[in-house]
């Protein structure tokens, strides 16, 4: 028996050895450098990335790019597992929801030395995108797809209901009045709907009520106080009184929201640049990308969210990775993204809007409104380590409030859990 076990152990070691030897050989290969570039996306998005990769390889024939693609749902898990398994991609896109966790775990290389050395002009990038990429004075990535989370307005629904569009300076009271102006029990048209999957959806209303979910320094939970409770109670009241579709409480209803909006059953919903791209594919739909309702004394209520392109700390080809990152998030890369209409322009180059906009295509005011949001109405998310864990406590509490619990009780019950997450993730 002992001998059998020894034979088995030897076999496992030999197999492991073969694997390790293979890895060593590939690292020692000479010739063009091959970089692994990780990103998420649907087939359309993958096509755009492929075009950008080809353009880069033409300019840099000594660097080959190997795409590592995944759907968004499992993307960050996959990347994290790759890094843990010593197979880290050299360049990777990271959603800012997870960005701070990646930095805390030491997965990301600081780009500050490269930026300083090459004199990269950071004014080219949206200010809020850069803010999200900076931790302890170091820049850990260049912003990608930085854009507002707009309020999308269905123009046809507003016209049919005889309700004028709100101004860009509309308040939370205007918002409530408009939602209550619709009569869904009669005509099956709702003023507003949400999916309860994401803090970003409810935060604008929390800010508009003068509240917040985390303190300024993100070290305290404030979701059970004043403005936040008022905002959650407003959502709960609108829901319980039938002004929002019953399925709004379902976190898995993103596709349904888009369907209701495009079928003219819904006047307003939150929507990212990605959502706009999907809605634009629906024929004859007329819609606008708007600011979020605001507080009487504060305009900064529209979420301005970013992602980052970062270099893995474990990358063995950091110079080549930096060359590719510079291209991807430089003028050339941005131009290709914008021409493909992957997202609205994110660099401060006004002419890029000419490539993105198509005459007669909605939302027609996206340029003006996006610039306004960036300048006056934008607000970054309270991102920090453990953000996903905090979100996983807050959203079920919001659902509980929508299902009848008082907002004060629902948001108060999770205080201890959230403070524990904050404490654990502050080590």
């Amino acid at each position: 028996m002992k001998r059998t076990l020894l034979v088995l152990l030897a076999l496992v070691l030999v197999l492991g050895g073969i694997g390790a030897q293979g890895k060593g050989e590939s690292a020692a290969q000479s010739g063009p450098v091959t970089l692994k570039y990780a990103f998420w996306g649907n087939p359309d998005a993958i096509g755009v990335e492929q075009d950008i990769i080809e353009a880069f390889e033409k300019l840099h024939p000594d660097i080959k790019i190997e795409p590592v693609v995944s759907g968004y749902a499992d993307y960050h898990t996959k990347i994290m597992t790759m890094i843990a398994g010593n197979m880290a991609p050299d360049v990777m896109r990271i959603d800012d929801y997870y960005f701070y966790d990646f930095i805390k775990l030491g997965a990301v290389e600081s780009l500050s030395p490269y930026i300083e050395r090459d004199g990269i002009d950071l004014d080219l990038y949206p200010k809020m995108g850069i803010e999200e990429a900076v931790v302890d004075g170091q820049i850990y990535g260049l912003p990608w797809g930085t854009a507002p989370l707009y309020m999308l307005l269905n123009l046809e629904v507003f016209e049919k209901a005889g309700i004028p569009l709100p101004s860009l300076d509309w308040t939370i009271d205007d918002f409530e009045r408009i939602v209550r102006s619709f009569n869904p029990k009669v005509d099956n048209v709702y003023g507003y709907a949400i999916d309860t999957n994401n803090i970003s959806i409810i935060l604008p209303l929390v800010w508009a009520k003068g509240g917040s979910l985390l303190s300024e320094d993100k070290s305290q939970y404030t979701g059970d106080q004043g403005g936040a409770v008022a905002a959650i109670q407003l959502i709960a009241d609108l829901y319980q009184q039938g002004y929002m579709p019953k399925d709004s409480v379902n976190a898995g209803n993103t596709e349904a929201l888009r369907r209701w909006f495009s079928n003219n059953n819904l006047a307003m919903m939150s929507g990212s640049a990605q959502e706009i791209l999907a809605i634009q594919n629906i024929e004859n739909i007329r819609f606008e990308a708007w600011t979020m309702p605001q507080a009487k004394d504060s305009r900064n209520t529209t979420v301005f969210k970013s992602n980052t392109i970062s270099i893995a700390k474990a990358s063995k080809q950091k110079e080549a990775a930096w060359t590719f990152t510079k291209f991807l998030r430089g003028v050339e890369g941005e131009d290709l993204y914008v021409k493909a209409k992957r997202f609205p322009p994110t660099l401060n180059i006004p002419e890029n809007w000419d490539h993105y906009l198509t005459a007669g295509r909605y939302p027609m005011m996206i340029k003006e409104n996006s610039e306004l949001i960036a300048a006056e109405y934008g607000h970054t998310l309270p991102l920090r380590t453990g953000y996903a864990a905090i979100e996983s406590k807050i959203m079920p509490a919001v659902q509980a409030a929508m299902l009848g619990k008082s907002a004060q009780q629902a948001m108060g019950e999770i205080r201890a859990d959230i403070m524990k997450i904050i404490k654990t993730n502050s080590k």
Binding site: L105, P245, K246, G252, L403
Partner: protein, 313 residues
């Protein structure tokens, strides 16, 4: 026969010589068997045993996947005992399993009995019934989500409205969400277990039924005293695999309800996934996994223990 020189007395004896040869043969056979089993053993070691043991070890550390694990003793288990979401997900998982599995067994057996009869288009109906089980759970959830919408936009509620029935909050009420998930789970798995039961039913010799018929047994007696006992090994297999599978429910709830509303359909595996791969708490996720492992292990042991009483071999 003379004693063989140079050999011990026992082996120099004819029977000793035979014993030595026999033991050599047995050893050779063992080696051959081991060689054939080796691919499976290596697979089991790499993909099952080592991860299970590692997971057990990880449950005593705090580890964020990329940082250095730090030993925390029983801290993860102590936290788990105080974690209300853990208890809720355990309750949800048990509810899903203990309601869905009996329903699954009964309905798939009835379906198998029905489709075991000489009906017109029998093969067509068998194929239709089996079809959902070859679909991935994600696809099934994506198909059912719009059908189960709670407003009249949902197909089922739209149809119910023709009969004056108010819209049912299938996926948005804590009371309805779990039954809806169980229903979709049943719809997906019924065909698979129907095929298992069909195989069991077709393995019963006609002679039992003929004997029962001669004895004057009615259909009910035949079913309870002949069919059910004779397919009991199949039922045992279906019960065990269905229960283990149900305890691992993840993809269906993950897409259909994302564990909501208000954690009403959040399950243990989903919670393990969240802790491990969204919150990067590998130690805590491992502790949760171990609880799931122990729960499934105990249930399987109990099933095996009591199988002697009702499984007819």
């Amino acid at each position: 026969m003379d004693r063989l020189e140079g050999f011990p007395a026992s082996l120099s004896h004819p029977s000793g010589y035979y014993l030595m040869n026999k033991s050599r043969m047995v050893r050779a056979e063992h080696r051959a068997a081991l060689l054939f089993l080796l691919p499976n053993i290596i697979g089991f070691l790499i993909f099952s045993l080592i991860p299970t043991v590692s997971s057990f070890a990880l449950s005593f550390v705090d580890w964020g996947l990329l940082d250095k694990p730090s030993f925390t003793g029983l801290a993860n288990y102590r936290e788990l005992l105080k974690d209300s979401i853990f208890w809720l997900t355990l309750k949800n998982t048990a509810l899903y399993s203990f309601v869905k599995v009996p329903l699954n067994l009964v309905l798939s057996l009835l379906l198998a009995i029905l489709l075991n009869k000489q009906l017109r288009g029998r093969n067509f109906f068998r194929a239709i019934a089996f079809l959902p089980s070859v679909c991935s759970s994600v696809a099934v959830a994506l198909i059912w989500a719009p059908l189960l919408e709670s407003s009249n936009n949902g197909l089922i509620n739209h149809m119910l409205s023709f009969f004056g029935i108010d819209a049912i909050p299938f996926l948005v009420s804590p009371a309805w969400a779990m039954p809806s998930v169980i229903f979709v789970g049943l719809w997906k798995e019924l065909g698979y277990f129907m095929v298992i039961f069909l195989a069991g039913l077709q393995g019963i010799s006609r002679s039992y039924y003929e004997a029962a018929s001669i004895d004057g047994a009615n259909a009910r007696t035949v079913f309870f005293n002949v069919t059910l006992p004779l397919i009991s090994p199949t039922t045992f297999f279906a019960l065990t695999t269905s229960l283990i599978g149900s305890f691992q429910i993840f993809d269906l709830t993950s897409v259909l309800t994302k564990g909501g509303p208000a954690n009403a359909t959040n399950t243990l595996v989903m919670y393990i996934y969240q802790n491990g791969f969204q919150f990067f708490r590998m130690g805590y996720a491992s502790a949760l996994s171990l609880i799931l492992f122990v729960a499934i292990f105990i249930i399987t042991l109990v099933q095996n223990h009591y199988s002697d009483k009702w499984v007819f071999n």
